[in-house]
Symmetry: C2
Subunit: 193 residues, 2 copies
């Protein structure tokens, strides 16, 4: 791997730990060069952070696309549970939860604005797929007739909530696969026909 990518990898790791307050000297130390040498690869700290954020959100966008695509032949239950478990898996992977949370608290106004725009796009795409799946489920009598947008919002909140639980309460119980399975079963029990 070339030095530039090595820098970006370590910057990603450090940003996940410390957020915007990571320092150039920490990055330099992690890639075994001196601080000024970083400026041969990037013009500023913000340029490094901007690069890792853009890359991460692009990856996230692709992951969402990958998860929701190629599921058209599956029924509503299979699709919703597949998306549920795979979104949780993806968002929990390695230091991603910390990275995303630091994003939402970053002070740098310009970078914050960029994140908001990109994440909004990603979220809209996700929500649209879910909506179509619900409509299909109602049409094909797989879901209760009473199912409406409230259940869609609940679906999205449920995923967010599971991902968030481990942050507020550092309890193993919230991180086990079993926990997510039980939540999913409870949810499905409430919407199935």
């Amino acid at each position: 791997m070339d030095k530039k990518n090595e820098i970006l990898n370590e910057a990603y790791r450090l940003f996940s730990q410390k957020g915007y307050s990571l320092s150039m000297s920490e990055i330099a130390k992690a890639v075994h060069i001196k601080t000024p040498s970083l400026y041969s690869h990037f013009n500023s700290k913000d340029e490094i952070i901007e690069t890792i954020i853009k890359t991460e959100i692009e990856n996230c966008f692709e992951a969402v696309h990958k998860i929701v695509s190629d599921l058209k032949d599956k029924n509503c239950q299979e699709t919703l549970s597949y998306i549920f478990f795979h979104m949780i898996d993806y968002c929990k992977k390695s230091s991603r939860p910390y990275f995303l949370r630091h994003l939402s608290l970053m002070q740098n106004k310009k970078l914050r604005q960029m994140c908001t725009t990109l994440l909004q796009e990603c979220s809209d795409c996700f929500a649209e797929h879910i909506r179509q799946c619900f409509e299909k489920g109602i049409r094909e009598k797989e879901l209760k007739e009473t199912v409406n947008e409230g259940q869609i919002y609940l679906y999205i909140s449920m995923i967010q909530g599971i991902l968030d639980s481990e942050f507020f309460i550092q309890d193993k119980k919230f991180r086990s696969k079993d926990y997510a399975v039980k939540v999913w079963e409870a949810y499905w029990d409430g919407i199935k026909a």
Copy 2:
């Protein structure tokens, strides 16, 4: 108000914005004294932060107690919806969402440990009340017979998820009362007898 409390109030506000990286000079400026004068009231930056964190979590603990108490004569639906909307209201108030999220990302190890312990206690207390309410609901045939701990986890995840939505996607839709109402109705529709 005396200077000490004025400092704590401004420190709370600044911590909500910047997290642990708030500076002593920012606090000093906000309360219209010079930086060294802060040390007449507190021994260190960490002492200030520790104080505001302890106060905030104590308040949170009391709020949870207040919300869950005096509801014993109400039925399950009333209790669960009351707790749902009041917990969301409380946690969304002013800068509290930012404060709590900065807590969970704080680098200072000693302070992190303190938060984890205190929040765990608060969460356990909350979960126990919810559990009792569900048991009562099943006993009195207000809830479906199939309701189990999965629905309890879903209830808690749902609240977390609603509180989190506005952080990842800065969309007005997620902040409206209407959104929470729809989620609640969808949830209740899934567990009622």
